[in-house]
Every structure is written in structure tokens, then in C-alpha cells.
């Protein structure tokens, strides 16, 4: 049987297109193997919690993937730089970023900045850094010991924050709103100044990450820990009560925990994301590494790709619900 010429041409085109598609289609998950160094963007300076965790995890990840993992610090704008750079990066698996939430959700929702965080390819959690509230014990200043007592405050409670760029701002504003105490936020403190501010009684409360570094005023008796924003007490700081225990179940939400999450650029192919996710799961299950990272007070709690993506959506929604409040402090 003779095949019409037009048909043979069509077949040829289809075959060529098929060959071309095969050539450009990414290889299967098992086939993707990185062949050059992978960069992890960290939006904060060297030595911080996010940086230290990234460096420790990067070392193990490097052994698992067989290529060097380089940490690139791009500090500034409350971690925003890593978001912008990641958005411009090629979705080839060689650039990933540790991104701080809910701080970056504020930039998207309340400041209207792009990109939409939901467009990134989220692969899992680096660490959780729960926040806690500490109150001054200086004589002559208002002494706050529980959330219920704070609700009875007659005048606004002076709360110190660093600014409107990082995680402290949304966590402070949203938790105050959920508890319902009158508050006046005083922004502009540098991190360490929040501790001296509490000791001096310039501010009466402040929210900070629950790590050893930020609990020194409690050790010295200059401050009292009022609440930790976790569903259960922190194993390393068991004396600090949770908001749930004090009758505020909403304060146990995972969206109120500072989260450092790993993302790849938007539209990263699934096979690449799966390889990186698999490496991250192994990294997070490394017991010795977990112990080192958690020595600082952070929590290593692996989170799947799907759950990470859901957490992002939840955080954006929570920040969205509180946007009018947050906008009071963003000009």
C-alpha cells in the first residue's frame, strides 16, 4: 500500500517533534543528578540561626548529592533579598533559598510586593523558630506575668520591635490582636537593644525567637517569659507556658511559628524538586545534625513538599486577615 506523500510528511513531522520532545523533556527523578555546585541563598547575615542551619545542612546535603553546596548570604530588607534573587534564578535545581515566614508574607500581602510566594516550588522546612514573649521585671514598671492579666491593661502596653521587615513584626501584631490586649508598638530597636530595653524598662514586653541567645535577660532575672507561641511547651524551655494553656488556642497555630522554609525557583520541574526534597528529608533525619542545630533552640521538624506548600497558603491567609492592623505600621 502506498502511503500518500502528505501523510508521510505528517508522520515525519510527528516523529521529529516526538524526538525533540524526548530530547527536551527532563529525565526521570532518578536520572537528575546535579553536576555543578548548588547555591543556597540566605537572606540574613552570617552567624544567625538561618545561616548556621543552612551551613550545617549544606555540608550533609553536599555529601548526599555529590556536588558542593555553597551558602550565599544576601542580607538586607528583612530577608527579602533572597526572595527576589530566587525569583530571578533559573529553575534548574542549582539555586534554592531559605525563606523566613511569616515575615515575607507581610511583604506580599500588606506591601503588595511581588512575586507571589505561592509560585515558588517549595521543598520542605529548614527549621522552625518559635517565638516567645518576655516582659520586664524592673521595679516601678508594669509587670506582666500572663496573657489574661495583660487583657486587663488600662493603657497600651509598650512593646518593642525591630521594625516591619522580619518575622517579629507580624508575629507581635497578630498575637496581640488574637489575645486582645491594648498595645503600642515601638519600632526601631536593633535586636540586642530589645534586651537592654527590657532590662531598663523602656519597653515592657517584646517578642523574640526562643533561642539561648535571646533568653539571657530571663536567666539574670531581668525579664520573665510570659508565653511561647507553640501548641506544646518547648522541650528545651519547659518552664515557659504556651498560649493554649493560658486559654488562647489560636496562639498554638503553626502559622505563628517563625518558619525557615526551603524553596526552588518558580516552575522548577518535579523531577528536580523531588531529588532535592529527598536529600532534604535525609538531612533532616540525620540525628547528629539535628542535635547540633537544635542546640541553639531551633526545632528541626521535617515537612513534606505538600505540607510546606499548604503552610505557605495558611500563613498568607493569616497575614491577609490581619492586613488592616499591619498596615497601621507600614507607611
Amino acid at each position: 500500500m502506498r502511503i500518500p506523500k502528505t501523510l508521510s510528511n505528517v508522520c515525519l513531522v510527528v516523529l521529529m517533534a516526538g524526538a525533540l520532545a524526548l530530547a527536551v523533556t527532563p529525565a526521570s527523578a532518578a536520572d537528575w543528578k546535579p553536576s555543578k555546585p548548588i547555591t543556597i541563598l540566605v537572606g540574613f547575615s552570617v552567624g544567625g540561626a538561618m545561616d548556621t542551619a543552612a551551613r550545617l545542612q549544606g555540608e550533609v546535603m553536599s555529601k548526599l548529592l555529590g556536588v558542593p553546596v555553597v551558602i550565599r548570604n544576601v542580607p538586607g530588607a528583612g530577608g527579602r533579598n533572597s526572595v527576589s534573587i530566587l525569583n530571578r534564578s533559573k529553575p534548574d535545581g542549582y539555586t534554592m533559598a531559605a525563606i523566613n515566614l511569616p515575615g515575607q508574607a507581610v511583604n506580599q500581602v500588606a506591601r503588595g510586593m511581588k512575586p507571589d510566594l505561592r509560585s515558588f516550588t517549595w521543598i520542605g522546612r529548614q527549621v522552625s523558630n518559635p517565638y516567645f514573649m518576655q516582659a520586664t521585671t524592673k521595679k516601678g514598671k508594669d509587670q506582666w506575668t500572663s496573657l489574661k492579666q495583660m487583657k486587663t491593661a488600662k493603657k497600651p502596653i509598650k512593646a518593642g520591635i525591630t521594625g516591619t521587615g522580619g518575622n517579629t513584626f507580624p508575629i507581635s501584631v497578630i498575637t496581640a490582636n488574637l489575645v486582645g490586649f491594648p498595645v503600642e508598638f515601638i519600632a526601631g530597636f536593633k535586636g540586642p537593644e530589645l534586651i537592654t530595653g527590657i532590662i531598663r524598662g523602656d519597653i515592657t514586653i517584646t517578642n523574640l525567637p526562643l533561642t539561648k541567645r535571646w533568653t539571657t535577660a530571663i536567666q539574670s532575672g531581668d525579664a520573665k517569659a510570659v508565653v511561647v507561641y507553640l501548641p506544646k511547651r518547648h522541650p528545651k524551655f519547659p518552664d515557659i507556658p504556651t498560649g493554649v494553656e493560658q486559654g488562647f488556642p489560636a496562639l498554638g497555630s503553626a502559622s505563628l511559628v517563625g518558619q525557615n522554609l526551603y524553596a526552588l525557583p518558580p516552575k522548577t520541574p518535579d523531577n528536580i524538586a523531588s531529588v532535592v526534597e529527598a536529600a532534604l528529608v535525609k538531612v533532616n533525619n540525620d540525628a547528629a545534625l539535628k542535635e547540633r542545630i537544635e542546640a541553639n533552640g531551633n526545632i528541626v521538624a521535617p515537612l513534606s513538599k505538600q505540607n510546606t506548600t499548604k503552610l505557605i497558603s495558611d500563613m498568607i491567609a493569616l497575614v491577609g486577615d490581619n492586613t488592616p492592623l499591619l498596615k497601621k505600621y507600614i507607611k
Binding site: V46, M113, G188, I203, K212, A217, S220
Partner: protein
Amino acid sequence: MFEGFGGALVTISEPHVILTLCVGSIIGLIFGAVPGLGGILAMSMLLPFTFTWDAITAVYLFSGIMGASSFGGSVSAILLNTPGTPVNAATCFDGYPMAQRGEAARALGLSAGACLLGALFGLVILALLIQVMRPLVIAFGHPEIFWLVVFGLVTTATVSQGSLLNGLIAGGVGILLSLVGLNEPTGLIRYTMGSEYLWDGIPLIPFFVGLFAIGELINYSAQGGTIARDNIQASIRGAWQGVMENFRYVVCLLRSSSIGTLVGIIPGVGGETANLIAYTVAVQASKDPGSFGTGNPEGVIASEAANDSKDGGALLTTLSFGIPGSLAMALLLSIFIMHGVSPGPQLILDKPIFIWTLLNGYVVSNAFASIVGLLAARYLAIITRVPVYYLSAIIAVVSLSGTYILRENIWDVVLVVLLGILGFGMRRAGVPVLPLVIGFVLGNLAENSFLLTVRIHDGSYLGFFDSVISWILILTMVVVPLIARLRTR
């Protein structure tokens, strides 16, 4: 507290520790001397390697880098009018004119001596006060910081060589530049032209590299010749003379070291402030303020003594409160925490050996850097006789790549070039650079501490006057120039 001293001395005599300290000091010297790099970059690059080390060795490496980088920064400030790190900015103003007079070796000796003596001063204060320093840290709140910074700002007029009007304009421009970015107390984003790059303001390192290194580079290229206009005294004797001159200006040395230690103790003020305040106080207190900026040895001593003594003050706050006074201290803290050592009040009681390890390492690395500097001074001084065309090319490559490496942001390089043009224009127009630097470094700090004081005191301005320290600072601001004026008559 003193019981850990013996243990720390034993560790420092071990060969691998000596090697670590020497390596740390050399790295600190090199990274300090290259504009744009600095000790922080060296520490952050080496941080991952130290995770698996024992804590004592890691602390020695870091104290070696910290101790030596400041002197390294003064080498390029004196020889090339380009501060290796922002904390050496004030060293340029008198160190470089000395180099132009052919006295580079003497200026390097002055700096080596001031670095070592300033560091020793800061550490002695640390050792003496560590258990009783709490009231001092708490005494400095935002009103006191405001007055301290205002003290630095009002000296803009005094340090304006030539036209007072030019100096005031430069100071004003510096303050305006410091206002760029997100103003945290008010939540306003100012003068960023919609750019996220400027959200955190004009970054410090590109500012200094541009204004000094590139500005000077264009100047060299326009002028030609060599840096030293006179014959150079490139001898070890010249350098030694510089070291010994520190004792001749002992009042300036002690005063600047005290200022440096105090600024170091106050969290949030920043290392780049110490050298500028010490320098401006030296000008105010001098019988001959007009000689500053023309190669007055007191200018070099004031800047470098304050630089190195500030680390003692910052260590005091870092170790006893767990509050890092600077990025270098934050790095040190993370090393401590990674090795299970928690900074805070208990550290002094539980693990004094760590404190002594740090102090020993810091003293030895400072001494090492100063000796190396002293021995190398006569060779380094020869740089001032190299034709500037060659130097320009080297400075351009080193400073621009150094700036880029730091954050891998091309806009930093663009900013360096723009500020270089500004620096060159100012030099050509006879507008002094120092007021611009003072305005830039202190302007934002003054505004922040002003706004925070008012907010903390419920909108009242009385908060500025309700502490003894505020009054001491106000009175000093008035009295010091008066005494200086009376002495000059």
C-alpha cells in the same frame, strides 16, 4: 573569673594553637587591608570549617582574625587613603597626609602601637569590669546614645578644614544620605526611588570604598606622580619612632581608648562610630585643631586606639549579656553556641576558660599584627613611591572585586563608582570629606535614637534630660571646645 586564666595559658602554648593564632592573624591582616573585604568576611568564610573543631581552637582562630584585621585596615588607610574596613575611616584623615610627607613608616608605627595599646586597654577594662559592668550597660539608653551621637555631629564644624560652609554642606549631604531606606521607627521608606536595593539604606562598605578608594583612584589618575611628595623615611627606626610616640600622646591614647571601650559596650551603636567620635573629640580637645587633617599623629592614635579598644567593650556586653555588639561578636556567639557554650551571666562563673582563651588570643593576635606591621613598615612605605598609575589599576581591581564578592550584587559596584565620582568631585572642589562621613555614619543613628527616646517617653522631650549621663554628655559638648579655645589663646 581569674581561675580560668591558668588553663587558658596552657592552651595557648600548644603548637596547634600557636599555628591557628598565626594563621588567623595573617588572614585578618590580609582581609583587613583589602578594601571591601574585612575580617567579617574572613570569619564567615571560615565559620563552616570550625563547626567540627574543638571550641577553644575555633575561638583562637576567630580572635586572631578579629585582633589583626583592624591594623590591616589601617595599612591601606595610611598608604592609599583607602580604609580597609569602615572602622578605619578616620585613620585616613591624618595617616595619609603623613604618608604624603614621606612618613608612612612612622604612621604605620603609630597605628601598630595604638592598636596594641588600645586593645590592651579595652581588655583590661573588660577583665576588671566583667562582673560589675551591668549598671554601665543599662545606663546607656537611647537618650544617652542620642547625646553621644550629637556630640560627634556638632564637631562637623570643627573638623571642616578650609571653608566652614563647605564643611556644613558636606555634613548635611552625609546626613541626607544616611536617611535613605526604610526608617524603622516610623515605617516610612524614603528616597529609595522604588528600589528594593536601597531598602536598608546605602550600604556602608560600598560607601567607604567608593568615597575613598575610587575617589582617590580618580584623583591619582588625574594628578600622576607618586603618593609621597617628599623623600620617604622607610626605616624600621621610623616605624619604631611611631610606636613610641603613642606614649608622648598618652592623654589622647587613653581618652580615645576610653571612648572606644564605651562605644563598644553600648549595643547597637556600631564599630564605625567609635573611631569617628574619638577622632572628633581629639580635634575638639587639641590645642591646635587646625593641624588635624594635615598629618597630626594624634589623629592616627585617636582613630586606631578607639578601634581596637572597642572590641574589649563589645566583648564585655557579648559575654556577660549574650548581646552581640557587632557582626563579629554575633559570629563569635554562634561559635560559642554551636559548641554548647551559652553566653550570659553564667558563662563567667561556669566557663571562665573561654573568656580567657578569647582574651589571650585577642592580645596575642594584636601583638602579632603590630610586630608584623612594624617589621613590614619600611617595605610597605615603598608603596608610596610607586607611580600612582600602577597603584590605580591595582586599587580599581581589588576594591571593585572586593565589594562585589561581599554580597555578589552588581548594584554595590555601581554605587561604588557613583560615590567615587562624588569623592573625586569633593576633593577637586576643596570640600572636606570628613564631615560627609560623620554625617553619614551618625545621622541615621541620631534620628533613630531621637525618635525612640520620644516614643519611649510618651511623646515628651524631657526624656533627653532625665539622666546624669545625658547631662555629662551635654556639658562635655559645651565645655570641651571652650577649654580647647582657652588653651589655644
